[in-house]
Amino acid sequence: MPGPDKETDLTERIEAFLSDLKRGGSGTGPLRGSAETARETTALLRRITAQARWSSAGDLMEIIRKEGRRMTAAQPSETTVGNMIRRVLKIIREEYARSRGSSEETDQQESLHKLLTSGGLSEENFRQHFAALKANVIEAINELLTELEGTTDNIAMQALEHIHSNEVIMTIGRSRTVESFLKDAARKRKFHVIVAECAPFCQGHKMATSLSEAGIETTVIADAAIFAVMSRVNKVIIGTQTVLANGGLRAVNGTHTLALAAKHHSTPLIVCAPMFKLSPQFPNEEDTFHKFVSPHEVLPFTEGEILSKVNVHCPVFDYVPPELITLFISNIGGHAPSYIYRLMSELYHPEDHEL
């Protein structure tokens, strides 16, 4: 009958997604971009909403939380998964509140008086059943999906406001967002791009070939030359893996050096990051912040005996503190790093920060 089939189908899809996540992050650089992961996660959550059995908002949130925990555990460094889950949870809360007809969702933490008198929204409140809730939630998730699809284009549209002609722009590694940003600006303006190759994965090479094919004057440099050429650079534009709650970044390794060099030469550092990369994590969670891959990338097995006598590290990410960042460009416009906390409160509910 359709019920059990739907369920098994759903579980199969979830399992497939989880194994995909586990494999995708196996240390050779992201096989898929964050945008794709975000889209797939949201699509899966929509399917769960549609096909799972739940009677009230609370049930749905419980199901989504459970699946969410499994997904984040499969690949902790892929934070977009967790971000999408939190977005959907917030959507559910909002739809629930709207169905109840109350306008409380806007005032939740706004006033101390409310905190004292209402005692906060408790879990019980989500037990009411609303017939239209499912449809509303699915519609809202569809809106979220459309927003996700347009993020890269929205960011690229702002390119001409930030790049003038004959500029020298520096970037590191490979970011699809930055790539489309620069290509969009190159349609109207002429400028030079210097790409730091970002060893050991050397993603910068692919970025450089792609940019030069679009007709942009590109130069590839080794990581060691970042400070040496920085004095001739007008702007640094980078992408990132995650934007942290304090406005800092978790970006590909080498970005902190790049940010320090830019600060030394007073060169503006612009981060192109769509909203789904914003995560309520803080950088002091030491054991979840860093991710390491096989040291074979750094010191290959062909080196022989010394391998057993040395420690080799190959971290994938770097922390960049918010003081070094000048501007964030996201699909909803440009922000200073000090504004990030505000955006976070709009996107996620504080109770969802811990899944």
Partner: protein, 558 residues
């Protein structure tokens, strides 16, 4: 400044009279305060010189003129023309033999009364360092001297008041001619170089690949096309030891400042051993001339480093100081001893002295970060380990040279516990580090440290984490050049080195075919002195800003 002697020598004898009679009506196009003083002196003392003194001074000026080669022609041409409006009253007894070449920069030094104190200074220095160019210029000078006979008088007059000045070499800087290898974008310079190499029968190495526009003034060679391919074997012009050395340099087999200098000196020892003075020639002059094409050849293989430049200067000085009555065998053995002593003192003993000072800076429990492969830093760490200091080392490496692996092997062999990371992970590993030891290729006169590319980055990040940075450098690598960025004078390595194959795919394989894609492989960069906390040299531990003091002390010694 260096054009002043030519100015002085090109004054007319007629104006001499004018000076004695009217002291004040002199017009200058531009002038600094120093020049005005000389003028005052000339004005006051011009009347007192007798004919004999003028003759004597004329002769001295002649001598000085011989040793100054560079700006003779052009500057003197201009100065002649400038003299004319000044000495308008005197009929120009010497008709202008050369037309004016309108060159604005040389207008400054072509003032009429040049303070003689400045003239001896440039004369001396060029004599020492440009000795090798004498032969080329002699022919031209004979012709010029005839036309300038009369003008020596005025020069002599200037020389008199200016004589009793302090050792000029200390106070008057010499602007050296810009080396060829940073003027690749100037076609005249390239033509001159091509002619010179043709004369010396050395093949010209051609540039390879698309050069990034910021670096179009530098050479970029490919390792796959070594210069020796164009030489005949056996080469009749270049000594085989030098050919081998050149090949070792261009292929990167001998790399590293100290290694290159020592290899160079050993090759020169071989050359000296095999040298025989041709008849009717003096060893001191001929050997220096023999070495010139070798140096051009080595320069073509790979631009000379600062330490090599200093070593070559030393050898040339030693050779030209050989007295002419010295027998050949004696002279040769003397030179060989000199070279041995130089290597011993400047490199080996210096390393020992530096190691001794550095060991005081290493305490138990230290975590020391080193970058790339510096022979000196490796030596220091091995010595410290012998003295039973307990520390561990983090070796930072960078593409495309990956020299750190060599350092890693050497340290691990001694039993030092090491960690190895790439330079992009340096901000991850730096919180663990207590000290950073860096080697240097050269120390510039404005306190900047010139070293392997990436050194300045490490110093920057270390500064951000408040980790002390110590640079170890022997004094023979100190250099009088000044530089503020890594663009104007650098070396471009083979751009194909950046290409890497990962998982069977080579992204940049066809980079030459894409017109807007360039690869940049820098070799050196400069670290500003505010990133460096201490420089450890064989003369002691000094701050970065004391480099010109050390240079001055060394010059006075010599």
């Amino acid at each position: 400044m260096s054009a002043e002697p030519s100015v002085a020598s090109s004054s007319t004898p007629a104006t001499q009279h004018k000076k004695t009679t009217r002291g004040g009506t002199r017009h200058f196009t531009e002038g600094g305060p120093v020049k005005k003083d000389g003028i005052q002196q000339a004005k006051t003392e011009g009347k007192e010189l007798t004919k004999e003194e003028k003759q004597r001074l004329r002769k001295e000026k002649k001598q000085q003129k011989k040793s100054k080669e560079k700006k003779d022609e052009k500057a003197s041409q201009e100065s002649e023309k400038e003299k004319k409006p000044v000495s308008s009253a005197s009929p120009a007894s010497q008709p202008p033999t050369q037309p004016i070449t309108p060159k604005a920069p040389s207008a400054v030094p072509t003032l009429v009364p040049v303070p003689a104190s400045e003239t001896p200074a440039p004369a001396d220095k060029p004599a020492k360092s440009k000795a090798e160019m004498k032969a080329e210029r002699r022919a031209r000078q004979e012709a010029e001297r005839a036309s300038k006979q009369g003008k020596k008088g005025e020069v002599g007059q200037q020389a008199a008041p200016g004589k009793p000045k302090a050792p000029p070499s200390e106070l008057q800087p010499v602007v050296k001619r810009l080396p060829e290898h940073v003027q690749v974008d100037n076609p005249e310079v390239l033509k001159k170089l091509a002619k010179k190499l043709e004369r010396q029968q050395i093949p010209l190495r051609s540039d390879y690949g698309y050069k990034v526009s910021l670096f179009s003034h530098l050479h970029q060679y490919s390792r796959k096309a070594p210069l020796t391919q164009q030489l005949s074997i056996p080469s009749t012009v270049i000594h085989p030891a030098i050919v081998r050395l050149g090949l070792q340099y261009s292929q990167g087999i001998v790399a590293g400042s100290n290694a290159r200098s020592v290899a160079l000196l050993h090759a020169f020892k071989q050359v000296i051993r095999d040298y025989t003075t041709p008849p009717n020639e003096e060893l001191s002059r001929d050997l220096v001339n023999k070495l010139k094409p070798y140096i051009s050849f080595l320069n073509q293989c790979r631009p000379l480093s600062a330490s090599m430049g200093n070593a070559i200067k030393y050898i040339k000085k030693e050779i030209s100081n050989i007295p002419s009555q010295c027998k050949e065998e004696e002279a040769k053995s003397k030179l060989l001893n000199c070279i041995d002593r130089y290597i011993d003192e400047k490199i080996n003993l210096a390393a020992k002295a530096i190691a001794k000072s550095s060991i005081e800076k290493i305490s138990d429990g230290d975590v020391i970060l080193v970058y790339g492969c510096s022979s000196l830093v490796n030596h220091i760490l091995c010595e410290a380990f012998e003295k039973n200091r307990k520390f561990r080392v983090i070796v930072v490496d960078s593409r495309p040279r990956l020299e750190g692996r060599e350092a890693l092997r050497r340290l691990v062999q001694r039993g030092i516990s090491c960690t190895y990371v790439l330079i992009s992970a340096v901000s991850y590993i730096l919180p663990e580090v207590s000290k950073v030891f860096l080697g240097a290729h050269a120390l510039l006169a404005n306190g900047y440290v010139m070293s392997r590319v990436g050194t300045s980055q490490i110093a920057l990040v270390a500064k951000a984490f408040n980790v002390p940075v110590l640079v170890c450098c022997e004094t023979y690598k100190f250099c009088e050049r000044v530089q503020t960025d890594s663009f104007v004078s650098n070396e471009l390595d083979d751009p194909d080195d950046l290409i890497v194959t990962r998982k069977g795919k080579t992204q940049l394989e066809h980079w030459q075919e894409v017109p807007s894609l360039g690869l940049l492989n820098l070799v050196y960069d400069v670290t500003p002195p505010d990133f460096v906390d201490l420089v450890i040299t064989d003369l002691g531990m000094i701050p970065c800003t004391s480099v010109p003091v050390v240079l001055r002390v060394k010059n006075v010694d010599q």
